[in-house]
Structures are given as C-alpha cells and as structure tokens.
C-alpha cells in the first residue's frame, strides 16, 4: 500500500518537475546549446540545484520502484527479497552519485 500510494503522489509531483525540465532543456534550449558552461551557469542558481535534486531523488525512486514492480511480476516468491534489496541499492548508488555531482558542481577541466 505504501508503494502504491508512493507511485501516485510522486507521479503527480513529477508531472510539473519532469515536464518543466524536458520543455526547457530539450525543446526550448535544445541539446546543441548545452555544454559545461551552460550547466555551470544553470547551477550558479541554488534554486535550479534544488530543482534538480528533487528531480533526481523523486524520478529515480519512482522509476526504480516501477522497475521493481515489473520485475516482481516475473520472479518466483523466493526472489522477492532479493529484488527489493537490489532495487534499493540501485537507487541509493545512483542518487549518491548524482548528489555528489550536484553538490560538487561543475569542475572546469
């Protein structure tokens, strides 16, 4: 029930977060104008870093929980614990990786 509620509430939150991100970066700015300078300019504003932090944590948790639920449709009962633990570790590693970059910021080569 927790996971069920989680998918619905986090999903509703992700609609403005993810759509906003995609509209700005993919449609309005476009990949041809994105480079290290663009990222450091964006991350100069704390607000955008917090926006990206929310997106990172919520999108990964929503997506990996979805992957976990798909996986649970295909494995036997004995493997449920393993799938749950693997999903948790996968989420944690990626989130920590992303947070390190968000906090550390752009390092000019």
């Amino acid at each position: 029930m927790m996971a069920w509620k989680w998918m619905r509430y986090s999903g509703l939150l992700l609609i403005p977060l993810a759509w906003g991100h995609v509209l700005i970066q993919d449609v309005l700015v476009g990949v041809d104008r994105i480079d290290l300078n663009y990222v450091s300019m964006r991350w100069a504003y704390l607000g955008w870093r917090i926006y990206d932090l929310f997106l990172l944590v919520f999108a990964l948790a929503h997506g990996i929980n979805g992957l976990r639920q798909v996986a649970l449709d295909f494995v036997s009962k004995k493997k449920i614990r393993l799938v749950n633990q693997a999903a948790y570790v996968y989420w944690l590693v990626l989130v920590l990786f992303g947070i390190a970059a968000l906090v550390g910021g752009v390092r000019k080569p």
Binding site: R8, D26, D32, V39, A59, G66, L67, L94
Partner: protein, 133 residues
C-alpha cells in the same frame, strides 16, 4: 506458429485497456533507462569534466535526436496516463468503471499526442536543420 497463435500468446485481454497498460510500462522502462544514463552523463561534470563534451556529442547525433523526440512522447504519455490513474484512484473511485476506464484511456492517448506534436515539430525542425534540409 501461426500469426493468430502468436498474437494470442502476447494478448492478455486485448483492446484499449491492455494497450494502455503496455504503453505505460514500456514508456516507463524506457524513461528509466534514459534517466540512469542521464544521471551518469551529467555526473561527469564533477567527476570527469573533460568527458562531458563527448557525452553531449553523442546526444547531438541525429539518431539520438530522433530518439529524444520519442523520449519526449514517452514522458508526456506516461505523465498523462499516470495522472489519469492517480486521479481515478485517489479522487474519483466512485466513477471507476469499465466504461470510464475505456473512454479515459482513449482521451489520454489523444491528449498526449496533441501535447507532443508542437514539441515534436520544434525538435524535428532541429533534426532537419542538422541534416541540412
């Protein structure tokens, strides 16, 4: 194996309901696949800043720009369909029925395509520009 036997194999209950279930799963898994790659590539700005330009160069290639257009469709469809599911489950439980599910699933597809077309137009124009057309 005959064609009918093969379609039977992948059909659960068929129709709009199954189409919407499959689309939600496929778009969700596709978005997650990209999300994981995207978290890793963006992290290079801190861990290996000299590699970031190489990662972006891949996204600037024509096949990835076309893939990006489908990614945007996936994000729009998954969002609209997810909102439909969440609203029915959290607020409109009384209205839940086979008829309302069938109609709303069709509306979801229509709304997603309408929202996607302007984005696809802008992004498609960028692809054509890159090809020099």
């Amino acid at each position: 194996m005959s064609v009918k036997a093969m379609t039977n194999l992948i059909t659960y209950r068929g129709g709009v309901g199954q189409l919407s279930f499959v689309l939600h799963r496929v778009t969700g898994l596709g978005i997650l696949l990209f999300l994981v790659i995207h978290v890793v590539d963006t992290s290079t700005v801190f861990f290996f800043p000299s590699l970031y330009a190489d990662a972006i160069a891949v996204y600037r290639s024509v096949p990835f720009m076309i893939g990006e257009i489908f990614l945007v469709f996936s994000i729009i469809y998954h969002g609209v369909n997810g909102a439909r599911i969440a609203i029915f489950d959290l607020a409109l439980v009384k209205n839940w029925g086979t008829k309302s599910q069938h109609n709303s699933a069709i509306w979801t597809l229509v709304i997603a395509i309408v929202l996607w077309l302007p984005a696809a137009f802008i992004m498609g124009r960028n692809v054509l520009e890159k090809l020099g057309i």
